[in-house]
Amino acid sequence: MTLDITGLRVSIGGKEILRGVDLRLQAGRVHGLAGESGSGKTMTGLATLGLLPHGARTTGSIRLGERELLTLPPKELNQVRGGRIAMVFQDPATSLHPMLTIGTQLTEHMRHHLRLGKAEAKARAVELLGKVRIPGPEEAYGRFPHQFSGGMRQRIAIAIALACSPEVLIADEPTTALDVTVQAGVLRLLRGLCDELGLAVLLVTHDLGVMSAVADEVSVMKDGLVVESGPRGRVLREPEHPYTRALLDSLPDAELR
């Protein structure tokens, strides 16, 4: 399954946030989206799920396979959300509900989208927790988010995102809020899941180091536009756009080699 974003424009309160974004996500590939804060990376991710803030105006096209998402009625869009396109947010400390068990948060959308029974949903949830390497998945199922470390919480958030076997995963700065020591583990997990499940992943990050570690394709955004896009090796080693070059030059040397 591919996700095609073409000519995506978003304005909020008369201000243009995205000015014609083109992106193509393919199954089994990680597409890195880089750029500084405010360049529109996160908005691109949110627009894909129709989760833009109130009063946002969107034009252009977002197609999942043959289906146009921008004109989908709310009910059908809700089927796509969580069901076919899932999202992992930046900070697992705030994106998991503090008063609901991991089990509830893992199974509720499965039961809704896949119409699973309680026991089936639980069995699948425990399996997923094992897949994202949470130790003792059976016990973890009944615990609350505050009983886990940051890295574990993000793994749980990834398990939640994968619960309904989506085809597209949008990961919005999934490692930014984590310790450097656990970042690598979470990235490796994402990469492995992408390969194993044939997910199309959009990895939004401002960290070119993260990008070079896992992305197959890289797009660079600036001021609501994609200024450069291509295979990772080409974009990171022979950047064409001066902005990409400036971004790369601003890194400490060792990180990319």
Binding site: L51, G82, F89, L96, T104, E108, H112
Partner: protein
């Protein structure tokens, strides 16, 4: 022991300790009152006779040092003896048993109404932010908070009873019906227990106006706080994450939004119900509701110290219970509280 049980036991023990504190405070405050109960209770002639005065003081234990009086008072309390009212010449506990249920019925109805309406209005206002219904509810809550209870009680009594004649007048039930045999002391419940629908209807009719008058302030308060609590939760990451999971709107509202918003809401509700109790004094006076508010007023003006202490104790314990309930609710709603 499960964490919730341990949490509960700790809170209850704390409440018992505070109840003892309340007895001390009510006793000290009552005895600090710059008034002489002797003068308030004996007639002019008797006051002139030192023998009668001394005898009266001895009878009521007022001749002993204060700390001894307190110990005697405490001893009585433990045995369920609150002393004898100097006005009604009946045990205070008997007086309270008669008046407290009436107030509990009135306040309970007001609490119920304000919780249901206040939270519902607040949620509606938050979900319809800056639209017509939000503005209308804001005006309503502003009115509720700013209108003085006694004025509202008088106006409601005048309009609904005197002019429109759609509500019954004062009291708890039509005098002609007599009232149901007392089991709980709550007219509505007793009527149901006795299977007397006529009494039940009359009791509810009598309850509606004073309860609504009493509830209007808390409705206004709860509407405001619920609105802001819900708006704050709506902006949280986990609500956006829930949307990203494609959950239906009402699941998000009830499971994700209301659960978090309830924590500040019950905090305010607990405080508001305390103030609701003080409101009963005025409302009871205007609607001739034979409750603890009227009893307190009468006892205070005649310096009936045992009665005043009894009322203080009851009100203090009601506060304690409300706080205990609020604390326990925190633990039930928020696992981070009970798992500490």
């Amino acid at each position: 022991m499960p964490p919730l049980a341990r949490f509960l036991i700790r809170r209850v023990l704390l409440a018992v300790l505070m109840a003892w504190g309340i007895t001390l405070v009510t006793f000290v405050l009552t005895n600090l009152v710059p008034g002489d109960p002797v003068a308030a209770n004996l007639g002019q002639r008797a006051l002139g006779d030192p023998a009668i005065v001394a005898q009266w003081r001895a009878e009521h234990g007022l001749d002993k040092p204060l700390w001894q009086q307190y110990l005697l008072h405490l001893q009585g309390l433990v045995q369920g003896d609150l002393g004898t009212s100097q006005q009604s010449h009946r045990p205070v506990s008997q007086d309270l048993a008669e008046f407290v249920p009436a107030t509990l019925e009135l306040a309970g109805a007001a609490i119920l109404v304000s919780l249901v309406l206040g939270v519902a209005f607040g949620v509606i206002a938050a979900l319809r932010r800056d639209r017509l219904s939000d503005h209308a509810l804001r005006v309503l809550s502003l009115v509720g908070i700013s209108v003085p209870t006694f004025w509202l009680a008088l106006v409601a009594f005048y309009v609904f009873f005197y002019r429109l004649q759609i509500t019954p007048g004062s009291g708890r039930v039509d005098a002609a019906l007599g009232g149901a045999p007392a089991v709980t002391g709550l007219q509505t419940v007793d009527a149901l227990l006795a299977g007397r629908w006529d009494i039940f209807a009359s009791a509810v009719g009598h309850l509606i106006t004073p309860a609504l008058v009493l509830a209007l302030y808390t409705i206004g308060l709860l509407t405001r706080f619920t609105r802001s609590a819900v708006l704050e939760v709506l902006g949280q990451d986990y609500v956006r994450a829930a949307r990203a999971k494609g959950l239906p709107g009402r699941t998000i509202l009830f499971r994700y939004v209301l659960r978090s918003a309830l924590v500040p809401i019950i905090t305010v509700a607990g405080l508001a119900f305390g103030s609701l109790l003080s409101g009963t004094v005025l409302v009871e006076a205007i609607f001739a509701w034979p409750g603890i508010g009227q009893y307190a007023y009468k006892s205070a003006t005649t310096l009936d110290l045992p009665a005043v202490m009894g009322v203080g104790l009851v009100v203090g314990i009601v506060y304690l219970v409300i706080n205990l309930v609020v604390d326990v609710l925190y633990g039930v709603i928020d696992p981070r509280v009970r798992l500490q």
